[in-house]
C-alpha cells in the first residue's frame, strides 16, 4: 500500500507567486485562441506531473505546468527553446539593471 503523505488541506492562495498566475493565464488564453485543444493540454501536463521527481507536496506543480506549456509551444513551432532561453536571459539582465521599485522593461537589458 502506498502511504505517501497527503499535503495539508489548508486554504492556500490560488497562486503562490505571480509567474504561476501568468503561466496559467497564458495557457487558458492560448487554448481559447485555438492553438491547442484542452485534451492536448491535459496530456502535456500529465506527462510532466507524472515525472518520478515530482514532489509529493505539490509545491512544484506550476513548474511542471510551465514545462508542459514550453514543450507544447515547441511542438507547435511557436516558441523554439533557444528563443525562449535567449529572451529569458535578457529579462534576467533587465531585472538586475532596473532600480528597485521601477517597472522592469526589456529595454533595460544592457546587452540590447
Amino acid at each position: 500500500m502506498n502511504q505517501r503523505e497527503l499535503p495539508p488541506g489548508i486554504d492556500e492562495p490560488v497562486f503562490a507567486e505571480p509567474w504561476q498566475a501568468e503561466a496559467f493565464a497564458l495557457t487558458v488564453a492560448l487554448h481559447e485562441k485555438g492553438l491547442f485543444s484542452w485534451g492536448e493540454w491535459a496530456e502535456a501536463l500529465s506527462a510532466e506531473v507524472k515525472r518520478q521527481d515530482a514532489s509529493d507536496d505539490g509545491h512544484d506543480y506550476y513548474e511542471h505546468w510551465l514545462a508542459a506549456l514550453e514543450k507544447l509551444l515547441v511542438s507547435k513551432g511557436v516558441a523554439p527553446t533557444a528563443e525562449v532561453d535567449a529572451l529569458a536571459a535578457a529579462w534576467e539582465r533587465a531585472a538586475h539593471a532596473t532600480p528597485h521599485g521601477k517597472p522592469i522593461l526589456l529595454e533595460n537589458d544592457p546587452q540590447r
Binding site: P7, E12, L26, L45, Y61, V84, W91
Partner: protein, 190 residues
Amino acid sequence: MAARVRALETILTQKGLIDPAAIDVIVDTYETKVGPRNGARVVARAWSDPAYADWLRQDATAAIASLGFTGRQGEHMQAAFNTDETHNLVVCTLCSCYPWSVLGLPPVWYKAPPYRSRAVIDPRGVLEEFGLTLPKDKKVRVWDSTAELRYLVVPQRPAGTEGWSEDDLAGLVTRDSMIGTGVALEPEAA
C-alpha cells in the same frame, strides 16, 4: 521561472497569439471571481428545488450554466449525488482536471501525487486522513476526471435545515464537500 514566463509572454504577444490585457483579466477572474461559492450555490439550489436537482442529475452542464457558471474549456459537467448508500469522491489521476467554473482552481493536495495515486487505490484511507470516517456498509465511488468531463459532488443535505433559505444552505457547503473529501457542515458548525 518568472523570466521564462516573461519570455513566453513576449514571444506570444509579438506573434499576436495573446493580448497582455486579456491575460490580466484571466488572472483576476481566477484569483477573485471564480471559487467554491459558485458550486455551493448549485448545491443549495439542488437541495431546495427538486426539479432543479433532477435537471442537475440529467444534464449538469446545462443546469449549472443556467446559474451563470460555464466552463472555458468546453468541458462537460456531471453531478454525483451522495446518498445514504454511496459517498462520491473526485480525483484526476491523469493530471489535475477540476471543475473550475464551480470550484475555482484546485487546492494543492488535489494536484499532488499522493492524492492522485491514493484516491483510487485506497479511498477510505484518504477520507480518514481528511477526518471523514464512513460507515463500513457505505460504498465509496471514485470518479476520475478528464479534460472533457468534470465532476461535482452534491453532498447530502444536513438534518435540521428544513425551511432554510438557499443563501443559508450555501453557507453549509464547503469546497471539500463538493470534491468528496468532506461532507456538508452541520447547522450548529456553520
